[in-house]
């Protein structure tokens, strides 16, 4: 009799999801775990810190009437969801989705976790909203290209570069960043992308030496590759360290260091090719 009641509620929920109706049916640990696992690999993949992931997952699990334990590894998330009132438990191991850093996606996924708690969303509705969020994270490449180029030219200005150096850095960044967008779309290894883009930008940046009116060519070369600095992994690495996620912290730090080394290698080769001295 009890199981029939549960089944009918589940059926109503599946066919007529009401986002403001708090789900009263007992959800299985498996369906909750599978949803939370997918949510967590997307959130971690878009550049969220471990503490944010833990908080969001715990918030949603509690709203669904479940308990959760998770182990966050650099490339996998190990999660167990269980019900305190019976033996229903489910464990999953999922691979972290490799995706570009996106605070927009991070923000909307965090908002979803609050909606699950505050509005009492059913699992069905939460999943529908998650799917909509995960599939709609897009950017306007030309706008990002323009803003990134302006940003790097401003950098050159901050470091004391003259207007000619700023113009050269703008062009160097536009070329390098456009190349980066193309290579990323073709799924070229990130380390190779960093090396090639740093090389191209530094070669173009070094052309500032050809302008007799320019007084700050060294600043143009030095700042032409700064758009590649992997700052978010460095910051997230320290955040993870503060909250005792040492393995993820070390992994993020190592990733960022490897990318910085690739960037430096490309810069060095570019300078060598252009016969630009270090000082």
């Amino acid at each position: 009799m009890i199981s029939m009641t549960q089944t009918s509620i589940e059926r109503i929920e599946l066919h007529e999801p009401n986002p403001y109706l708090k789900s009263t049916s007992r959800l299985s640990s498996k369906e909750v775990c599978l949803f939370l696992a997918e949510y967590s690999v997307t959130l971690l993949g878009c550049g969220a810190t471990c503490i944010r992931l833990e908080k969001n997952i715990n918030r949603m699990a509690k709203a669904f009437g479940k308990k959760v334990e998770l182990t966050i590894m650099p490339r996998h998330i190990h999660m167990t969801v269980w019900d305190e009132e019976d033996d229903d438990r489910f464990t999953s191991i999922s691979s972290v989705k490799s995706a570009p850093i996106s605070f927009s996606l991070n923000t909307r996924l965090s908002q979803l976790s609050w909606q699950v708690k505050d509005e009492g969303l059913s699992l069905h509705t939460a999943r529908a909203r998650y799917d909509a969020i995960a599939s709609s994270d897009s950017e306007k490449p030309w706008l990002t290209l323009l803003l990134a180029s302006l940003a790097n030219a401003s950098f050159c200005g901050i470091f004391g570069g003259d207007p000619v150096a700023m113009a050269i850095v703008f062009i160097a960044t536009a070329a390098g960043f456009n190349l980066k967008q193309m290579l990323v779309r073709r799924h070229v290894d990130t380390r190779v992308v960093f090396f090639i883009c740093a090389f191209v930008s530094s070669v173009i940046g070094a052309t500032d030496y050809l302008f007799p009116t320019s007084t700050t060519p060294a600043i143009a070369v030095g700042t032409s590759v700064l758009y590649l600095v992997p700052g978010i992994p460095f910051l997230n690495s320290f955040s993870d360290l503060l909250y005792h996620h040492y393995i993820c912290s070390f992994s993020r730090f190592t990733d960022a260091t490897v990318l910085t080394a690739c960037l430096s290698g490309g810069l060095c080769l570019g300078m060598k090719l252009m016969k630009v001295g270090m000082f």
Binding site: A218, G222, L226
Partner: protein
């Protein structure tokens, strides 16, 4: 002086918005991002100015990064965006690019150097610039992340 501070703030704001777009921050956060970077970077500019406070670059960077961290935590609920979204773009204008550049250059010249005298000179250049660069990065990251740790309640309910 005022012109210099405003120029610095404008460049920092433009750099922050551009780097915010690379890390795909929500559009509504662009303005806040630029504002936080402008305040943070001009704070460092004033602290380091020889005619004003003449503070050491590491202490000035620590102070300015802390200001950025606090502003990010308190601005995050206004744009309903996690505080971390503001940190990187706002901190990036303070990245010690020239120190890193000179340090790396020193290392390369050190390896290519032919005499002991040259080696000593470039090794000194590598070590001095490298140490300052690392210290600045640590100061930045620690000072900017601390406010999120200190105001956990506010930082993690920003998207509510």
């Amino acid at each position: 002086m005022l012109f210099e501070v405003l120029k610095d703030a404008l460049f920092a704001a433009m750099a922050a918005i551009g780097f915010g777009s690379i890390s795909r921050i929500p559009r509504r956060a662009y303005l806040w991002c630029g504002l936080i970077a402008a305040i943070g970077h001009s704070t460092r500019f004033i602290l380091m100015n020889k005619d004003l406070l003449d503070m050491h670059i590491i202490i000035a960077t620590f102070t300015a990064s802390f200001v950025i961290g606090v502003l990010a935590v308190f601005a995050s609920p206004l744009a309903k965006t996690p505080a971390e979204a503001y940190l990187f773009p706002s901190l990036l204008p303070m990245i010690p690019g020239m120190y890193a550049y000179r340090s790396f250059g020193g290392l390369v010249m050190c390896l290519l150097g032919s005499s002991q005298e040259k080696f000593n000179f470039y090794f000194y250049q590598f070590a001095e610039n490298g140490l300052i660069c690392v210290a600045i990065i640590f100061a930045m990251v620690i000072a900017a992340t601390l406010p999120i740790f200190m105001f956990k309640g506010k930082a993690f309910t920003a998207t509510r």
